[in-house]
C-alpha cells in the first residue's frame, strides 16, 4: 500500500463506521432502505435470487443436469417444451433456466465462502498486524504487498494449474487473492482504535493483548470489514467468471455462472442466449451487490457518497452546519 492510499483509505475504501451507533444504525438503515427505490430494488432482487438459488436446486438439480440432445440450443421464449426451456436449451440440451438456478447457487456459494474466508483470515491478520505493530506489522504488510503486487488473475492461474481446478481450490485461490484488502482495512482500523483511550485503559487493567483484540477491537472493525466484503461479492463473482474463461474455473458438470458464460461464448453468434442469460445474471447480481454496498457506504458516510439517498432522506447533520 502506498502512502497515498493510507491517507485516503478512510475516504475511499474503508469508510469509518461509528461503532457506537450499530444497533440504532441497523434500524435506521432499514428505514432508509425502504425509502430509497434503487437500493431497495437491488436488495429485493438479491434476496429473491438468493432464496430461489438456495431452495430450488434441491428439487431441480437432476432435471438441470439432464441432457436432451433434441433440445440442443433450442431457442428461448418458447413454452412448447415446458417452462424449464423458457430460456432455451444449452449446448447439450439442458434447460437453461434450471442450469442458471443451479449455477447461481454455486456462484453465490463460491462468492460467499471465499469472501467469508478472506474477510475472516484477512481481517484477523490485519488486526494482529495493526495491534502488534513493530516488525510483525512490517512483515505482515510486506506479505500483503506480495500478494497485492501479483495480478490476481495470474496468481490464480499459476496456483490452479498446480492444484488442478476444483470448487475448494477455487474458493481458496479467490480468497487468497483478495486477502490484502481485508488486511489493510482491518489494520488501518485497528491502528486507529488502538490509540483510543479505552484500549489504553484495558491495557492498564492488565488484559492480555489477544483479549483486547478479540473483545474490544474486533467488534469495532467488523462493520467496516462487512461493508468491504459486500462490495467484494461482486468482484469475486466476476473474477471467478474470468478464471472459467481462462479454463481454470470449475469443472463440468459442476456449473457456476462463470463457466456458463465462458463455455457459451463459443456459440455467441449462433446461439446468443447460451452466454447472454448467464452473463446478464452475473451483471444483475454484481450490479445489485454494487448498488447495495455503495448505498451502505453512503449511509455510513453521508457527506461522502450519499448516492441513492434521495434529497428527502438527507440527514439533519446538514442542517446544523
Amino acid at each position: 500500500m502506498n502512502m497515498a492510499q493510507e491517507l485516503v483509505a478512510g475516504a475511499t475504501t474503508a469508510p469509518p463506521v461509528d461503532p457506537g451507533r450499530r444497533g440504532s444504525g441497523r434500524r435506521r438503515r432499514t428505514r432508509l432502505l425502504l425509502r430509497s427505490p434503487l437500493p431497495l430494488t437491488a436488495a429485493i432482487v438479491l434476496v429473491a435470487i438468493m432464496l430461489v438459488s438456495l431452495i430450488a436446486p434441491a428439487f431441480i438439480a437432476d432435471a438441470a443436469q439432464r441432457q436432451d440432445l433434441t433440445q440442443r440450443l433450442s431457442p428461448p421464449f418458447q413454452l412448447s417444451d415446458g417452462f424449464a426451456f423458457v430460456l432455451g436449451g444449452d449446448t447439450l440440451g439442458r434447460p437453461m433456466l434450471l442450469q442458471l438456478v443451479v449455477a447461481t447457487k454455486t456462484s453465490l456459494l463460491i462468492a460467499a465462502l471465499s469472501v467469508g474466508l478472506s474477510a475472516l483470515v484477512g481481517s484477523a491478520i490485519g488486526l494482529i498486524s495493526g495491534y502488534t505493530g513493530g516488525w510483525v506489522d512490517a512483515l505482515i504488510m510486506r506479505l500483503s504487498d506480495i500478494i497485492h503486487t501479483l495480478p490476481s488473475l495470474l496468481l490464480a492461474l499459476v496456483i490452479l494449474y498446480v492444484l488442478s481446478p476444483s470448487i475448494t481450490n477455487l474458493i481458496v485461490v479467490l480468497a487468497l487473492t483478495r486477502l490484502p484488502i481485508y488486511m489493510r482495512v482491518a489494520r488501518a482500523q485497528a491502528l486507529e482504535i488502538r490509540e483510543r483511550v479505552f484500549v489504553e485503559a484495558s491495557k492498564a487493567l492488565g488484559s492480555r493483548p489477544w483479549r483486547i483484540m478479540l473483545r474490544d477491537i474486533r467488534p469495532m472493525v467488523a462493520p467496516t470489514v462487512l461493508t468491504v466484503a459486500m462490495l467484494e461479492v461482486a468482484n469475486v463473482i466476476l473474477q471467478a467468471a474470468g478464471l472459467s474463461f481462462l479454463g481454470v474455473g470449475l469443472q463440468r458438470p459442476d456449473v457456476d455462472l462463470g463457466i456458463m458464460v465462458a463455455s457459451g461464448r463459443e456459440y455467441l453468434s449462433e446461439a446468443w442466449f447460451v452466454t447472454f442469460f448467464p452473463g446478464l445474471l452475473v451483471v444483475v447480481i454484481a450490479l445489485a451487490a454494487n448498488i447495495l454496498s455503495n448505498w451502505l457506504r453512503a449511509v455510513d458516510d453521508p457527506g461522502q457518497s450519499a448516492l441513492f439517498v434521495s434529497r428527502k432522506s438527507l440527514r439533519d447533520e446538514e442542517v446544523s452546519r
Binding site: 428505514r31 432508509l32 425509502r35 434529497r311 428527502k312 432522506s313 438527507l314 440527514r315 439533519d316 446538514e318 442542517v319 446544523s320 452546519r321
Partner: protein
C-alpha cells in the same frame, strides 16, 4: 409552531419595531422575515424562522446563541450560501437590493467587496493544496484584475495588516504550516482583501486557544474601526461578543429572542434565555453558584414545541408560555425581547 404555518404566512412577532427605530438613513443591510428550512427524511426542518433586523454601515452586531439556534445558518444566508435541500424565504436587502433568489453569478458581485465572511474552522477554510500567498493573489487577480506583482505586494500588505510577521516569506507557506491563530489571521486577510462593506465572522475564535482568541478579537475590532465596515459577529460567547460588537441579537430556536445594546444586555438581560446564557459562562458568572449549565437540551428543530420555544427549559415559565408564542416586543427604544415576562426578568437583574 408547525412548519405548515411557517410556509403559509410571515411568522408572527417579526421585528418590525426595529425597522421603525432604524428608519433614519437607508440601512446597509435589512433582513426581513428571513426563514431557512431544510428538507430531510423526517420532513422539512426549520433552522431560521422569521428573523428580521437591520444594520447600518460601520455598525457591529453580535448574533448570540447556542449551537443549533440558527445563528450560523443566518450568517450563511446573508451570503447566499444556502444550497438545496435548504430553502431561503424572506428578504435580504443589501444596499437596497434583495439578494434572495439571485443566481450565483449575480451573488458573486456582492460576495467579496460587498459582504464577506470568516468561518469558524480556519484549517478547513483554506485550501490545503495551495500556498496562502497564491490563495490571496488569486483572489486579488481574479476579482480586482491586479497583475501578478501588484497582487503580491497587496497580499503582503494584507498579511501585515492582519498581523502576520515575516509576511513576505510566509507567502509561499501552506496552510498546514501555520499555527491556528495565524491561519485565522490569513482567513481574515482573505475575507477583507476585497474591502467588504460587511464582514460576517462566524465564531472565528471558537477553535482557538484563549490567549490567541484575544489577539484575533482585537484584530477584528481594529479592522472594523479602521475600514469602517459593518460587522456581524456570530458567537455563542457573550463575553467575546462584548469585545467586538456594540449591538447584540440573541437567537434561540431559529428566532431572535432579544435584541439591544451589548453592554445593556450584559448588565440587564430581558429574556430568561439570555440570563441563563450569561450564567453559564464562566467569565460572566460572579460566583461559583452563579455558574450553571442551562437545564434541558436545546430544542429539536424537527419538532418545535407550541408556545414559547424556550418554555421547557425556562425556570419562570407559566401556563401562558406553553400555549401562546410571545412576540418580539420593544421594551425601550433600543431594547426588544420575545418573552411574556420580559419586565420581570429585566427587574430581577437589578
Amino acid at each position: 409552531m408547525s412548519p405548515l404555518r411557517d410556509r403559509s404566512q410571515p411568522a408572527p412577532g417579526s421585528d418590525r419595531v426595529v425597522d421603525a427605530a432604524a428608519s433614519g438613513t437607508a440601512p446597509l443591510l435589512a433582513v426581513r422575515d428571513l426563514a431557512v428550512d431544510f428538507a430531510t427524511d423526517r420532513g422539512r426542518v426549520s433552522a431560521v424562522r422569521g428573523v428580521s433586523f437591520t444594520l447600518q454601515a460601520g455598525q457591529s452586531l453580535a448574533i448570540l446563541g447556542e449551537s443549533g439556534s440558527g445563528k450560523s445558518v443566518t450568517g450563511k444566508a446573508l451570503l447566499g450560501l444556502i444550497d438545496p435541500p435548504g430553502r431561503v424565504r424572506g428578504a435580504i436587502e443589501f444596499e437596497g437590493e434583495n439578494i434572495v433568489g439571485w443566481d450565483e453569478a449575480r451573488l458573486n458581485t456582492v460576495r467579496g467587496p460587498g459582504v464577506s465572511m470568516v468561518f469558524q474552522d480556519s484549517f478547513d477554510s483554506l485550501n490545503p493544496v495551495y500556498s496562502v500567498g497564491s490563495q490571496v493573489t488569486e483572489l486579488l487577480r481574479v476579482r480586482q484584475g491586479l497583475d501578478r506583482r501588484v497582487a503580491r505586494e497587496r497580499a503582503v500588505a494584507l498579511m501585515r495588516q492582519v498581523g502576520i510577521p515575516a509576511a513576505e516569506e510566509r507567502l509561499k507557506d501552506y496552510p498546514h504550516q501555520f499555527s491556528g491563530g495565524m491561519r485565522q489571521r490569513m482567513c481574515i486577510a482573505l475575507a477583507i482583501a476585497l474591502r467588504p462593506r460587511l464582514l460576517i465572522a462566524d465564531e472565528p475564535t471558537t477553535a482557538l486557544d484563549v490567549t490567541v482568541q484575544a489577539g484575533i478579537l482585537r484584530l477584528v475590532r481594529q479592522l472594523q474601526r479602521e475600514t469602517r465596515m459593518a460587522l456581524i459577529f456570530v458567537t455563542h460567547d457573550l463575553a467575546v461578543a462584548r469585545l467586538v460588537a456594540s449591538e447584540v441579537a440573541v437567537m434561540y430556536a431559529g428566532r431572535i429572542v432579544e435584541r439591544g445594546g451589548i453592554d445593556d444586555i450584559y448588565r440587564r438581560p430581558a429574556h430568561p434565555y439570555t440570563r441563563a446564557l450569561l450564567a453559564s459562562q464562566p467569565d460572566t458568572a460572579r460566583s461559583w453558584s452563579d455558574l450553571r449549565p442551562i437545564a434541558g437540551s436545546p430544542p429539536d428543530k424537527a419538532g418545535i414545541v407550541p408556545g414559547c420555544a424556550f418554555h421547557p427549559r425556562c425556570p419562570i415559565a407559566t401556563d401562558r408560555c406553553t400555549t401562546e408564542e410571545p412576540d418580539l416586543r420593544a421594551l425601550s427604544a433600543d431594547r426588544l425581547s420575545r418573552c411574556h415576562h420580559a419586565e420581570e426578568v429585566l427587574d430581577a437583574a437589578h
